[in-house]
Amino acid sequence: MAGVSDTVGLLQSPLDAVHRRLGATFTDFGGWELPVRFGSDLAEHKAVRTAAGQFDLSHMAQFDLVGPGAGPGLDYALMGEHSTMPLGRASYSMILTPEGTVIDDLIVYRLGQEHYFVISNAANRLVVAAALKERLAGFDTTLEDQTLARALIAVQGPASLDVISAAGLPQATQLGYYRAMEYTLEAVPIVVARTGYTGENGFEVSCPREEAEDLWQLFARAGEPFGLVPCGLACRDTLRLEAAMPLYGHELDLDTTPIEGGQGAFVRPKAADFVGAAALRERTPRKHLVGLRGEGRRAARAGYQLSAPDGAPAGHVTSGALSPTLGYPIALASVLGPEAPAAGTVLQVDIRGTSTPYTVVPTPFYTKEKK
């Protein structure tokens, strides 16, 4: 099948033809050719904050683990405890090097007593697959990379529950946040998870590759009365940044521990003896992830250097944009030093030669209204 090859060129989504009919603008991301926007990225961002948006996430890596050793194996292979996780639960986790730095961040779903489902980043798929295979070798579990056999569609936004209901899955609206269930929708077996990367309510739905187009069209039709629009990667990035969610390669990488990458809340190094746990217990953080807020409309962008009030190098911006929702520039930044700078600290960002003050602020920058 065209586009389903690991070796030649960019991978194409099973929804590629749909995106082309919709007039999407494409970009290369993690080895895939994907829509960066369908029309206006600001309009798509706003739709997710106020109504709903539909994203093609078929580039995300999908792994199935089945067997009595799946849970204990993941306890060893990944940060956190997975064997004790109740059925139907999802958990944000990471796969670490023995040194405690991040190979990838991922979500683990427990779909059955001996069935786990893992979603990780596109660009790291082969690395994660190889690391999992190696680490699970001593455990009684299968590991299957389902990425090229499946698709992943996200419906995100305050109206996403209405959309999924109208699409024929009213029971899925009863799922709590970070819960997941297998359903059959129009005779198609799907996995529905109450997870997302936008800071809004929403769902991520995994389905067989050949069913992706029908599922996309089903959501599009069901969502139209609720203002659902197709959304590209540009707004996915600004949405996740407003919610201060990390993006691998920016906030997290092989030189960053989960704690240094601002994800200390997910670290329970005493809980189990997973790969990297010992290093996490011993290491002193060298840097911290902080939120920054700027004035005006000029964004501090990824890679821009920071300096302290005394002019000393202070780190760098990991992600930054003019926040579409808030109207001012926001950034995540990796600040050097054993202690995180306090909220209110002013750092200078070198924006293409112009020293520009940014203030350390609490994150997330944006929190959805509680209903």
């Binding site: 603008t25 960066v36 926007r37 206006s40 990225d41 600001l42 309009a43 961002h45 540009a234 707004c235 990035d237 600004t238 409309r297 000029r298 964004a299 962008r301 944009a321 003019l322 579409p324 293409r352």
Partner: protein, 127 residues
């Protein structure tokens, strides 16, 4: 994709009307506007500032990127489109009209410019 025949173009996707003067109006093309995505910030040369054809004179920021703005012609900036500075989305909505960026008058020279046909060929290559 609109490429008005009456305008001249740079390979960097600026357009210029009346490149010989007396008053040359400058903007970015529809191709550029689409490639940039939503424009959110314009850093334009100030009125009275001298610009040189082919050299950078400002920046255009979209949500995802920063792009250099090059002056198609040399001369003195005589006007800046404040409406576009205040509402950068005009660049996306009407790049050849309401979304113009600045004017140069008098014009003292030109950078390397393309006619509409040559510019159309250039943008077709990239697709």
């Amino acid at each position: 994709m609109t490429i008005p025949a009456s305008l001249s173009y740079t390979a960097d996707h600026e357009w210029v009307s009346a490149p010989q003067g007396p008053t040359a109006r400058v903007g970015v093309t529809e191709y550029a506007a689409q490639a940039l995505g939503d424009v959110v910030f314009l850093d334009l040369p100030a009125v009275g500032q001298a610009v040189t054809g082919g050299e950078q004179c400002g920046e255009i920021e979209s949500t995802k990127s920063v792009s250099a703005l090059f002056a198609p012609v040399s001369g003195t900036v005589s006007a800046v489109n404040q409406a576009a500075v205040d509402a950068p989305e005009l660049v996306n909505e009407d790049p050849f009209g309401e979304g113009w960026l600045f004017e140069v008058s008098p014009v003292s020279g030109q950078g390397e410019l393309l006619g509409a046909e040559a510019y159309a060929a250039l943008t077709a290559e990239g697709e």
